[in-house]
């Protein structure tokens, strides 16, 4: 497929810490303001400054927001990577090179522009340190001219970001102008361009972590404890920002929230459990290694039945792995996290809108089921920029679950913390400070009976464990159901979750264009709801798409539905880069060919 107007991607190669973010955001926002859907993906190293970094802006009139392997425009600013960057570009692509960067021999079917960025910036910015930052804004001017990005929109986007810093704004404006003037004078227009459309009206651009923070804010979070770790830190910091702004009394300075930066992830989850047990809406955010550290307390919370909301922004593991790359490989270990028999409720956001709604819903589920609820996002959703419809204000109050107050206790003869009175596996709890002689109980991770008293009695242990299993069954009808898109006559199903969603949408269109229609189930949570089973039953073959090596979702489905397991086939992607549509198309087509041969 060739690049065409409103369907191409721009790949910008710079050095980490060079301030290219403002430049890239400006380009992305300007395209967005021209009414053409965009997405932005940041491919960055685990480093503060100095290592190579890339930013990809995908312009897609059809609204495809997934990563694409095909780059159509390269902005090569980084001499360290320019040879490889240039070599990766295909026929018909546009290469905008910082004059003097090392380059291989470039075939004649590429459009090459050389711009003396460093020479241009010198007279504009006398300070050498500042120059490094401003030079990026020159390529904004050049690219905008070449690709027909409206300068008025560029200026809007720039002003929105730097409006509060007039000096910086002026200098950056001048740099954009300089780039544009240079391009007008020296460079011929590119073979494909951005054309105005009306497909982004009323849409927002947002990162998933920011969306999750908004969800928590409107979900009524009162306690956040966390330990800094990429790629989850931006969720905690974004939430802290919103809380400071909207939940602290401007007059008295008093806060209706607490944010505690813990000494490690064990303490972070411990504080969440203490706060939740006491009645706060408490959450933590973490990634990879931090999640591993939370394991013991997770088992405790499951067994002692304490609500907790745990956001895991997945990165590549095991161990430190690739801290700044994306993955869906925490699924299996989270589903059963802890020693002993445990199974957990997991929410799987596929969109920034999911991050927002799950940010609220996770609290409701955690308090309703008195158990840890995980939100398994990933770096791709969490830290990249996505276009979305604006979020809706919640139309329901919160659900605080089964809490008995002193008034409730006054009407009852006894209170037993772990007695299943309603037949749904969910007992009632009281909060510390409840002024009634019956209210107190003793929470423990050791064996306990219905009255929360210590016991090692075999029958009682089994009874409690069976009730916990029953509670998990109740959760099946409470968690968000999958979203199913059935195509009439399609016998091939695709099952996906999380950030794979966007690549799957695009892949389905391409497969259909090649004559293979599919039905699609987008899974939103564990435990599996009944819709999952009926979808699997109704399909001849189901491709389970996931971003991990060991086919973890397929393993969970196989455990749950062994009788349907032979229908499942894996589409895997686990190199740390976000999954793209072509990878899915290629694998499905190859497997289908094999399937046809063997049939």
């Amino acid at each position: 497929m060739k690049a065409s107007n409103n369907d191409f991607s721009i790949h910008v190669a710079t050095v980490n810490g060079s301030g290219s973010q403002t430049a890239n955001t400006t380009l992305m926002r300007a395209v967005f303001q021209m009414g053409v859907p965009v997405s932005g993906k940041n491919l960055f190293p685990s480093n503060i400054a100095g290592l190579p970094t890339w930013f990809t802006i995908r312009v897609s009139e059809r609204g495809y927001l997934a990563r694409t392997r095909r780059n159509d425009v390269l902005v090569a600013m980084n001499p360290e990577t320019s040879v490889e960057d240039i070599a990766s570009m295909g026929p018909g692509s546009i290469l905008l090179l910082n004059e003097g960067v090392p380059a291989p021999k470039i075939p004649g079917d590429r459009v090459v522009y050389k711009v003396p960025f460093n020479k241009l910036v010198e007279p504009l910015v006398p300070d050498a340190k500042l120059r490094k930052l401003v030079v990026n804004m020159i390529y904004v001017g050049v690219v905008s001219h070449l690709l027909g990005i409206d300068f008025e929109e560029v200026d809007h986007a720039l002003t929105a970001q730097l409006g509060r810093k007039p000096k910086a704004l002026d200098m950056n404006r001048a740099a954009v102008k300089l780039g544009a003037e240079y391009a007008t004078e020296h460079l011929k227009p590119a073979p494909f361009r951005v054309e105005r459309r009306n497909k982004t009206a009323d849409k927002v651009l947002i990162e998933g972590n920011q969306a999750g923070a908004l969800g928590a804010l409107f979900g009524g979070v009162t306690f956040l404890s966390w330990y800094p770790i990429t790629p989850s830190s931006s969720l905690a910091e974004s939430l802290q920002g919103y809380l400071e702004r909207y939940r602290r009394d401007p007059k008295t300075g008093e806060a209706t929230f607490a944010v505690v930066q813990a000494e490690d992830e064990i303490a972070a989850i411990g504080m969440v459990l203490g706060a939740s047990w006491t009645g706060a809406r408490a959450m933590t955010t973490t990634s990879g290694p931090g999640l591993s550290l939370m394991t013991e307390f997770t088992g405790f919370a499951y067994y002692a039945e304490i609500p907790a909301v745990i956001w895991d922004i997945q990165r590549v593991g095991p161990s430190t792995g690739l801290p700044t790359r994306t993955s869906q490989a925490d699924l299996l270990s989270t589903a059963f996290m802890s020693h002993g028999d445990t199974k957990h409720i997991i929410l799987l956001p596929a969109t920034v809108e999911d991050c927002y709604t799950f940010g609220m819903r996770a609290f409701d589920l955690a308090e309703r089921f008195q158990t840890p609820v995980f939100v398994l996002s990933d770096l791709d959703i969490g830290m990249n920029t996505w276009m979305s419809d604006p979020f809706q204000y919640p139309d329901k109050p919160w659900d605080r679950g089964k809490i008995l107050t002193a008034e409730d206790l006054a009407k009852t003869a006894k209170f037993e913390r772990y007695r299943d009175l309603d037949g749904d596996g969910i007992p009632y709890r009281t909060l510390p400070g409840t002024d009634h002689p019956l209210a107190g109980y003793f929470t423990r991770g050791s064996g306990h009976d219905e009255q929360a008293l210590y016991t090692e009695n075999p029958d009682t242990y089994k009874r409690v464990m069976d009730r916990l299993a029953a509670k998990y069954e109740t959760a099946r009808v409470a968690v968000p159901p999958p979203v199913i898109d059935r195509t009439k006559g399609a016998e091939i199903g695709i099952l996906g979750f999380g950030s794979s969603h966007w690549a799957i949408l695009e892949a389905r269109d391409r497969l259909a264009a090649d004559g293979l229609t599919t039905s699609y189930l987008l899974l939103k949570a564990l435990p599996f709801t009944k819709e999952v089973k009926s979808f699997l039953e109704s399909m001849k073959v189901i491709y389970v798409v996931e971003q991990n090596r060991d086919a973890q979702m397929k393993a969970l489905l196989t455990m749950e539905y062994p009788e349907l397991a032979t229908k499942l086939r894996s589409i895997l992607h686990y190199d740390g880069l976000p999954i793209d549509a072509q990878s899915i198309v290629d694998q499905v087509q190859e497997r289908e060919r094999e399937g046809v041969l063997s049939r």
């Binding site: 009162t222 306690f223 411990g270 504080m271 706060a280 604006p390 919160w398 107190g440 008293l453």
Partner: protein, 355 residues
């Protein structure tokens, strides 16, 4: 009237305290520890201290980690909520509880293994944050539940039941707490309730983390000859700094001592601690002196007990967080869900990209 002759705060109602409860209302389940365990004596002191202080049981959260000591919250204040956490992690639970409901009184019980080994990190950070909590370390220098391994507070030269001698430097939780600015640090002995009870009552009145390290001999694994934390050895080497008396805020008792014979510390809630001089004049407001005293005590094989350090005015954690007066746990939805206009404002910012 001197405090030691004064009847406890139960005088008016016979065996009832100022809120009308009897001592039985502060008891808990029957202990399952070894008969004669120092921890049970501490439990007795906790019950008596809470009763005498007239604490409302429903306002107390009892917290612990794992180990013999951590079982004890089940043996007192059965009307209170209790939280027996995982090993070494009671401080993080306490932090969450305290922040979620600042009106609760937190009473934590830990052991030397739970605090000085697996939980040392969390313990130090708790102290550093000054989370309001009475943190009792029931310190016997040995792992009881796992049958007699040394803990990190075992003294150099102390002999285990197996015959092994500890050569490693003990971790002194009081010295660490003082170093991190803890506003209330005391050491006592389970066998000296006369000293321990006023310390506990004072610690419960302190606004911030109060660390009370109580030497509590293990009758089963660490009470033999050669053990420094046997009953006999602790009794012989107990070196109290002063006699301690506690006068609660709601009592107006004047204590008459000759000038220079005693010191008085007023806590934030108006209650007072009177320290009657025993040997030399000890100033518990001097952190360096306290550390020096602990070091000298160790060199001389003495257990220096009493109120080692106190700073009643240190800012507690909830003040650092600038929390509203209402406990976070009781805030209604309208206080914690911003109105629709806020979402509209944020969404419109995301449409235009305005920072």
């Amino acid at each position: 009237m001197t405090p030691e002759k004064r009847a406890p705060e139960q005088s008016a109602n016979g065996n009832k305290n100022r809120i009308g409860l009897t001592v039985a209302d502060y008891r808990g389940a029957k202990s399952t520890l070894c008969p004669g365990c120092g921890h049970d004596a501490i439990t007795g002191s906790i019950i008596q201290a809470a009763f005498e202080a007239g604490i409302e049981p429903h306002r107390v959260a009892k917290l612990s980690g794992i180990g013999c000591s951590s079982k004890t919250p089940a043996y007192f204040l059965s009307r209170s909520h209790g939280f027996n956490a995982v090993h070494g992690r009671m401080p993080s639970i306490a932090t969450g509880v305290s922040v979620a409901n600042r009106s609760l009184t937190l009473l934590g019980v830990s052991g030397d293994g739970d605090t000085a080994s697996i939980g040392l990190g969390q313990f130090l950070h708790l102290v550093r944050r000054n989370v309001p909590l009475l943190y009792i370390v029931e310190n016997n220098g040995v792992y009881g539940l796992t049958k007699g391994q040394f803990s990190a507070t075992a003294d150099v030269g102390s002999k285990a039941k197996s015959g092994r001698v500890n050569e490693l430097m003990p971790i002194d939780v009081c010295a660490l707490a003082i170093e991190l600015g803890c506003g209330f640090v005391a050491r006592s002995f389970s066998g000296d309730p006369k000293q321990l009870r006023p310390i506990l009552k004072a610690a419960l009145s302190h606004r911030g983390t109060a660390v009370v390290d109580v030497i509590s001999p293990c009758v089963t694994f660490n009470n033999h000859e050669g053990s420094t934390k046997s009953y006999l050895n602790v009794k012989e080497h107990d070196a109290p700094l002063h006699d301690i008396f506690f006068i609660p805020r709601y009592e107006n008792i004047e204590v008459d001592y000759a000038p220079g014979e005693s010191r008085e510390v007023t806590l934030h809630d108006g209650s007072r601690i009177t320290l009657k001089k025993l040997g030399e004049d000890y100033d518990p407001g001097d952190a360096l002196r306290a550390l020096e005293t602990i070091h000298h005590g160790r060199q001389e094989d003495k257990f220096v007990t009493g109120l080692l350090y106190v700073d009643p005015d240190k800012e507690p954690f909830e003040q650092d967080l600038k929390l509203v007066e209402t406990p976070l746990a009781s805030l209604p939805l309208e206080k914690v869900r911003p109105p629709k206009e806020v979402l509209d404002e944020v969404m419109s910012g995301l449409m235009t990209g305005k920072a």
